[in-house]
Every structure is written in structure tokens, then in C-alpha cells.
Subunit: 315 residues, 2 copies
């Protein structure tokens, strides 16, 4: 059984995987020479794999390197009965730390100080009056899955009250309150920090738009560590310029790579990172470990051990 | 019993205080009209209060708004048996959060991303490889007093191992290890993050000098939230340029305000804030809360609940 490795499985994990009965690992060279012929499992994804999949009959399981799988041809995978697994879980800790990093950069005046010039650096009365501490502040997290919960845990640990929004609206620890979409406005108005970690679906596309930002009253911080297209970039830029938002941090963007002429570059009170909130030294090993566990099960009975994506739902 | 409020107690705290049996709050208008006549407690301090105190016989307790009380007439207070309390303690939480903010700004690539231009923003392979998470990392805090302990608690909560250095070297929770000055080198070499929160004395002046930085082997982060002159600025700048330090964050400086021609402005991997790590928006409420707790006790038995200054020692 051939496993096509498009990501570069680290040596220790590769050794475990090739020790499985009848399993061979092929590199991107194989893809260049033979396409997807005789490939049963793909680890990672690229344009060439996407182009070849519709005509291929051997692929039975794709292990993504990401938590979100919106960029996969879900309908094709479903019609061909190909299993898809994500790496949901390994990004939770780094993303939660990144969210805390963004919040604290604003709360403790680090972001504002970094933008000052030698001439105005010490004129800090405005900073002194605006810096704050986290206990007693309220966060609202859109998405109460495991990454949302990991973020909630880190923020609750800092003394924040953390509410959530989900489809089902069912109580989930450690959220103080979980509302449905219909509770969004009331909870958003009460929030000092709003975090998006929803998957990208037709319903979440441009969920954060002019109407959303215009309804806010407390000039909260807005953080997007979910998917770029969940935010209407124009609306966000306007909300930063007109003060509907006190600040924003974006790790994901409607268009990636972020274009050099994006209006985001001129927006005030904005922190940006280049889609790295889920990254950490050790991420390849962690993803390959999920692949390994799934392969063990897949070799045995053709099912997956963990992180299987519901192709109908898209996550 | 009249409490003279020279600071402006915020409304919620004022409500709690006036609900105490037989307690009235008077404003600075009272001072202008009646002086200190019939005043039992003073919150804050000013020149008029200082001038009137020697002839006054009713004041029994002064609650300062500051941690340091060197500007009070300690001898007069002592001879008149007037109790004095400071606000020591309210800066621990904001300073601890600031330390976490600096560490996470480096760990999660926020500081490095903010320095990128539109043209090189998305070239993030180096960032992806360098960002890290906090669990398993080691911090060394110079100073194990109450602010040092608050920093240690916040970092330990993030999964870091936190060691400390103090004069006595005695074990203090939540430090994993507390060493004396003689253990400094060994513990510093093992640290991913080094934090200074020592008071400034003859012994701590330029404690962090060329010799200190040159001995480091793991390119740690260095954070100063203590006193500026504890660091030899030239040595720090050299350590940043030559890579002995992986990065640094300074809230205090040898010369304050920080001069526009300081070599720090040209140093790489450096975050600076203008002596604001202890500031926070609720500082008036926090100080009034100490006053409230002291009043509760004072009304009951004439003693103070917290933060009483030893008038002989002066702190």
C-alpha cells in the first residue's frame, strides 16, 4: 500500500509508518513521475494531486495537514468514497497561545508602544490610561469545538469570562454561556474581545460584515484565527477606521498571501501574522502521528482512528 | 467617622465604603472649607493635608495611593500614633501580564510579523520554524518577592518551569527552584526566558552586564520590569546584536525618559514599553479596595487589615 507524502514526514515517524505491514512511503518525486497511480493514501495536498484525483481510482484516504479542509474537493471525495481526516487537535495549544498573545499585546500597550517613534515614545499618559488587565474582561468565541474550547480555557485561566456561539447553543465547559447564532448580537455587545474560530462554510462566509461591526457598541478587539473569508475585509477596515473596533488581530485573510496593496496595511490598531497561529516547532511530527494512528486502523479494517471529516458537513 | 477622599474614589467603591457603619466620605471641598477638622481617615495626600496634620488631633489612619511612602512625614505620623498603609501589591497582576505579553509576542511571532513590510510579510517559513509554545520552556526570575511570585504564577500556569534567584535562596511557591546569586550562572544558562524584578540597590546596579550576557549559551529572551540601572544598556545592545540574547523586552531604562539617540532604538529583536508595565485602567478602584478592606477592620478594632507601613522602617 503506497502512502504519498507531500509534507515531509520526519524520520522517527516515517520509521514507525514504514514498519506497518505492507506500507510504503512515496515522496513528491513519485507524484511527478507516476501521478497518483497505485497511491492509496495521500498525506497533505497540492494542486497536482487535486488535478489528478477526479480520474484516479486507487486513492482511499487523504490525511490533511490542516484543521480546516475547506480547500479540499469535498464533493469529489464523497462521490468516490474517499476518507478524509484533518489534523484538528494539534493546533489548539498554539492557536490559544496566539489569541492570548494578541489580546495581551493590546491590553499591556506592547503593540501601541512598538508603533511609536523615538520622539513620542515617552508621552505615555494616553497609554497609561488605556492599558488594562484581563481579570473581569469578557470574551466571546465564535466556535466551541476543541480549538474554541482550548482558547476559552487559556482566557478563563487569565480571569476572563468566556462566552461562546455555536450552531447548537449547548453548554460546553469552560464557556460561561453558549448561545446560538440568534444570541450573537447580545453577546457580542457585551464582549471586550471577539474571537472567530469557525470553519468556513456557506453560512460563515462574510459572517463578520458591516452589519455585524456596526452593531457593536463597546469598541471590542476582534481576532480572526479561523478562516479569512469569514470576515468581510472592507467592513473590518471600516470598523477599525471609524472606531467600531478598538483593535483587531488577523492571522488569516480573504486573499492569501495577503496582497501588498490590501487596505489592511493602512488600517489603524491592527496586528497581523502570516497564517502562523497554529504553527509550532514539532508540528510535522504531531501531524505525522495522527497519520500513523489512522494508518494503523486503516490497514486493519479500512476505517480511521481519529479526526475523520464529515464530508457532508465539511468539518 | 469622616473619610477625606483626596484621590477620587470610584462610585462602586464609594458605595461600599459609605455603607460601612457610621462612615461618611468627604471630598477636597471639605478640606478647603474645614481643613482636617473631625477627619479620622485620609485617602491620598497633598501639601495642604501635610501642612495641617501637625496641629490636628483627629486623624488616626492615612491610606496612601502609592507603594512607596518616602514623601510622607513618617516621624510626625509615628509621634501622633497615626496608622499608614500603602498600595503595595496592586502592580503585581499588571506586571505579570506584561511579562507574559512580551514572552508571547516573541513566542507566537507577533513581534517579528509587525516588523515586516508588505513585500516580505508572507515569506513566513522562517517564522513557522521559529515560533514555539510555552509548555516545557524554562523561565528564571531575578527577585522572588510578591511581584516575582505573581510573574512566576502566571508563567507556571502556562506550563513553564519557573526558577528564581534571591538573596536568601529559600524555597518559595510557585518557584520550582530558588537559587542564591552564586547559582545565577547555572540557572541562567538553563533558561529560555530571564526576567528582572529586583529592587535597585548598590548590589543590583549593572547586575546584567557584559559578563552576564556573555556567559549565556541558549540565546534566551531577557525582560526587564524591575529597575533600568540594573542593566548595563551597552552590554544589552551588544548581546542583541551578537545573538547572545534571542530577544529582549524593556519597560524600564537606565535613563528615563528614554533618549531619542539611545542605541536601543537600533537594536534588533527588542520590544520596549514606556514604563507602563504596572499601569492599568482600574488602578483607582484597586487602591480604593485596599482602603475599603482597611476601613472594615479599622471600624471594628482600630487596626488595619493589609499593607500597613512600618513607620520605623519606612516601608
Amino acid at each position: 500500500m503506497k502512502v504519498l507524502d507531500l509534507m515531509g514526514i520526519p524520520a522517527p515517524e516515517k520509521e514507525k509508518i514504514t514498519a506497518l505491514p505492507n506500507v510504503q512511503v512515496e515522496s513528491t518525486d513519485y507524484l511527478a513521475q507516476h501521478g497518483l497511480a497505485d497511491i492509496t493514501v495521500i498525506f497533505g495536498w497540492n494542486k497536482q494531486a487535486a488535478a489528478l484525483l477526479p480520474e484516479n481510482t486507487s486513492v482511499r484516504f487523504v490525511q490533511s495537514f490542516s484543521a480546516g479542509v475547506d480547500y479540499f474537493p469535498l464533493t469529489t471525495l464523497q462521490s468516490k468514497n474517499i476518507l478524509l481526516a484533518n489534523t484538528s487537535g494539534i493546533h489548539a495549544q498554539p492557536i490559544a497561545e496566539s489569541v492570548l498573545a494578541y489580546i495581551l499585546a493590546f491590553a499591556r500597550g506592547v503593540a501601541a508602544s512598538a508603533q511609536r517613534t523615538p520622539a513620542d515614545f515617552w508621552a505615555s499618559d494616553d497609554l497609561r490610561a488605556s492599558v488594562f488587565t484581563l481579570p473581569g474582561k469578557t470574551a466571546l468565541i465564535y466556535g466551541t469545538g476543541h480549538i474554541g474550547r482550548a482558547i476559552a480555557e487559556v482566557l478563563a485561566q487569565q480571569g476572563m469570562t468566556v462566552n461562546g456561539i455555536s450552531h447548537h447553543g449547548e453548554p460546553v465547559a469552560p464557556f460561561a454561556t453558549v448561545g446560538r447564532d440568534s444570541d450573537s448580537l447580545a453577546l457580542a455587545k457585551a464582549a471586550d474581545v471577539i474571537v472567530n474560530i469557525m470553519p468556513l462554510t456557506a453560512e460563515t462566509h462574510h459572517f463578520f460584515n458591516d452589519a455585524f461591526f456596526n452593531d457593536l457598541t463597546g469598541a471590542p478587539l476582534f481576532i480572526n484565527v479561523g478562516r479569512g473569508p469569514s470576515v468581510d475585509t472592507k467592513a473590518l477596515v471600516a470598523a477599525l477606521h471609524n472606531g467600531q473596533l478598538g483593535g483587531a488581530a488577523l492571522d488569516v485573510f480573504e486573499q492569501e498571501p495577503l496582497p501588498a496593496d490590501s487596505p489592511l496595511w493602512q488600517a489603524p490598531h491592527l496586528l497581523m501574522t502570516p497564517h502562523i497561529s497554529g504553527a509550532f516547532a514539532g508540528i510535522y511530527a504531531a501531524a505525522a502521528d495522527i497519520l500513523y494512528h489512522n494508518l494503523v486502523q486503516f490497514v486493519q479494517d479500512g476505517t480511521l482512528a481519529e479526526n475523520q471529516v464529515d464530508l457532508q458537513q465539511g468539518y
